[in-house]
Structures are given as C-alpha cells and as structure tokens.
C-alpha cells in the first residue's frame, strides 16, 4: 500500500510541476507581448544598433530597476519583466519540488533540490558586480 500511495503522490507532483511551467510561460509571454506593443508604438520607427556591445543600462539588469521601469509602462522595462517571469519559472519549479520531496519524506532529494535552488539564487542575486 505504501508504494501505491507514493505513486499517486508522484503523479500529483508531476501534474503540479507541469501546470506551474505552463503558467510561467503563459504569464511571461503575456507581459512580453504587452511590452512589445509599448516598445514598438514608441520606438518602432527608430533604428536599433546592436552591432557594438554596450551592455544594458543598470536599470535593466536588476529586479528593482526592471520593476520600476515596467511600472512606468516603459516598453523595454515591461519586456524585461516578462523575461524575469520566464527566468523565475524554473526557479519556482525547483522550489516546489523541495516541498513535494519533503511531503514524501525523501530527505536526500530535499537536500538535492535545496542545493540546486541555492545555485540558482546565487546566480540571480550574488552575480551582479
């Protein structure tokens, strides 16, 4: 019986993970499309220059700047917010699996998922120079 119960949980976990990924991609795409409309409405006629690398302005490199740009309905800020939502999707998936493995009392995989989450958060937070 114990095995049957665990299998049932496994399917549940898979379904939630699948829905979470679907939702993240859909939300990101929606924000991205809104940003694209604002961006092209305002800057559609000007010419881009991507030939030389200048790097993005500081406001488009971090969470606080992106959110404040997006709130002022800047097209580039909104697009960047959509991309952040996309980035957050796998992170949320890993965070959820920690919870799911804990409910299955699988402590090895709780530790594994915690490690991966730490690496992801390190990349997002500590890497800004």
């Amino acid at each position: 019986m114990a095995i049957a119960k665990r299998r049932w949980t496994e399917r549940q976990v898979e379904r939630v993970v699948g829905n979470l990924l679907d939702f993240g991609v859909a939300a990101s795409t929606a924000v991205l499309l809104a940003g694209a409309v604002f961006f092209l409405a305002r800057h559609g006629g000007s010419a881009p220059d991507y030939h030389a690398f200048r790097g993005e302005p500081a406001s488009l490199r971090g969470l606080a700047g992106i959110v404040s740009d997006a709130r002022s309905l800047s097209g580039r800020g909104l697009i960047q917010l959509g991309l952040l939502l996309l980035l957050a999707t796998p992170v949320a998936r890993v965070a959820f699996t920690i919870f799911a493995f804990a409910r299955q009392r699988d402590w090895t995989y709780v530790a594994v998922a915690l490690f991966v989450l730490t690496a992801l958060l390190y990349s997002l937070i500590a890497s800004r120079a």
Binding site: G45, F53, G55, L60, L83, V112, S123, S127, R128
Partner: protein
C-alpha cells in the same frame, strides 16, 4: 533598419529556427546565435543572451506537457541538475573573461559536433535488466508509459552521467545554448535510460540549467529586450508548431538539410572568429 523591421525579421527567422530545431531535435538555440551574429550583425554577447532566454522558454513550454504525461524522470533530472547548474555558473563566468572572437570559434566547433551527432546513426539504447546499486540508493529507477502499459527501466553509471552533465552545463553557460544533444548523450548512452525518457528529461533540465547562467547574463547586461523579445516569441511559437508537426511527419531529409546549414554556419563563425571580425 527600424526597430519594427528588426523585430519582424528576427521574429520570423526565430520562428523558422524554432520550428526546424523542434523537428530535428537539435533545439532552436544552436542556430539563433549564428543567425543574429552573421545575418543581422548583432554582437555575439547580445545574441547569446537572447538565445539563452529562448532556450528557457522552449524547455519550459515543452517540458510541461512531457512531465504531465509521465515521461520525464524527475529524480534523475533533479539530481543531475546539481552538475548542470554548477557547470552553467562556471561557463557563464568564464564567458565574461573570454574575448568574443574566441567564443565564436568555440561556438563553431560545438556547431560542427552538433551537426555530426544529428547525422550519425543513433545506436539503440542498451537498456538493462540488472539494477545499479548507486542508482537504486538514489531512487532513480522508474517507468514510462507505452502502448502496452507502463514499462520499468534501470538507471546506470550515475558518476559518468554527472560528469558529462557538468560539461553540458558549462557549454550552456559559455555559449548561451541549451546543449540538449549532450544531455541526451549522457542520459541515453552513458546512463542507459530509454530514449523517450532521456529526451524529455533532458528537456526538463535545460530550463533550470539555462536559468543558472541567465542570472549572470542579466547582471552583465547581455539580455537586451529589443533582441530577446522577438527571439523568445519566435522560437517558442516555432518550436510548439514543430513539436506538433513532428507527430505527423518524419524528419529524415530535413535533418540532413538542417545539419548542412549548421555546418555552413559553423565554418563562417570559425572563420570570422579567427580573422577577428567579430
């Protein structure tokens, strides 16, 4: 060229790349970077940033369906993500220290390898009936749905798979690609996991791997909204359409044509890198 024209042209190109990438199983990322760099004259760092974003989108979009159908092995994926995320961080930090010309050459070499692997006659997965103690201890053995009901399989060679996954993660972070082909190689040929489970689990892992380097890319200003937007939307749309088309048609000749295109792009990337034109 105006922003509107750039968005439409890059979006169309990405749609096509995503479609072919899904049909041939090579992923869209591998052609997006050369397309942006060689055709649109975009700096390779912006191109890598946009490509990495598109990789997260297609991986998450496709993984959602496969996970729900019960193909992906969540434990194998989760465990090996330790290797791919560490590799991705290493690759992303290394990428910032290498000159663009050097990265272009490495990219070209990886393109040649991808073309080779896509043309090579794929050996059948050597599945096995005997369990592997380490994989059993890690609870990795699983089952997947087939027409005759669920079929169980044993996982092998965890350390070897872990090593190849670190390399796959490093390439992903270094070049802004998904390195799905190398991930499938680790799962399918080293760890002897059934092919369908290997490809879907690889797909599942690509998003997390790419997210690990995307944080570094974002902080370094590689991710430009004007480029990433059409690339992400195009590749995502193209790959969703491609996955659907794949269920109806085969991919033999397309695969060969695509491999030749990749080979041509590889030569040009290497040439431009060596002559310092990038």
């Amino acid at each position: 060229m105006t922003n509107t024209e750039f968005t439409l042209l890059v979006g169309g190109g990405s749609l096509f790349a995503g479609f072919l990438g899904a049909i041939t199983g090579l992923g869209g990322g591998v052609v997006i970077v050369p397309l942006l760099v060689l055709v649109f004259g975009v700096d390779i760092r912006y191109a890598m940033g946009a490509s990495l974003i598109s990789v997260i989108a297609t991986s998450s979009g496709a993984a959602a369906a496969y996970v729900k159908e019960g193909y992906s092995n969540l434990r194998v994926g989760m465990f090996l993500e330790i290797a791919t995320t560490l590799g991705a961080l290493t690759g992303a930090f290394l990428s910032a220290r290498l000159p663009s010309s050097r990265i272009a050459v490495i990219f070209g070499i990886v393109l040649v390898a991808s073309a080779y692997f896509s043309l090579r006659h794929k050996p059948r997965t050597r599945t096995s009936d005997s369990p592997d103690p380490l994989a059993v201890r890690l609870g990795m053995d699983g089952s997947y749905p087939t027409r005759e009901g669920p079929r169980t399989y044993h996982v092998h060679a965890v350390p070897a798979g872990f090593g190849v996954m670190f390399a796959a993660g490093s390439l992903s972070g270094l070049l802004g690609i998904g390195s799905g082909a190398l991930k499938v190689l680790a799962l399918d040929e080293a760890m002897r996991i059934p092919f369908k489970v290997s490809t879907t689990t690889s797909n599942f892992m690509i998003g997390v791997t790419a997210a690990a380097s995307a944080g570094v890319y974002l902080a370094r200003g590689y991710i430009d909204p004007g480029i990433a937007m059409p690339v992400m939307l195009g590749v995502l749309g193209g790959s969703l359409a491609g996955t659907r088309a794949l269920e109806r048609t085969g991919s033999g000749i397309l695969r060969k044509i695509f491999a030749l295109v990749i080979l041509a792009l590889a030569v040009e990337m290497i040439y431009n890198g060596l002559t310092g034109r990038l």
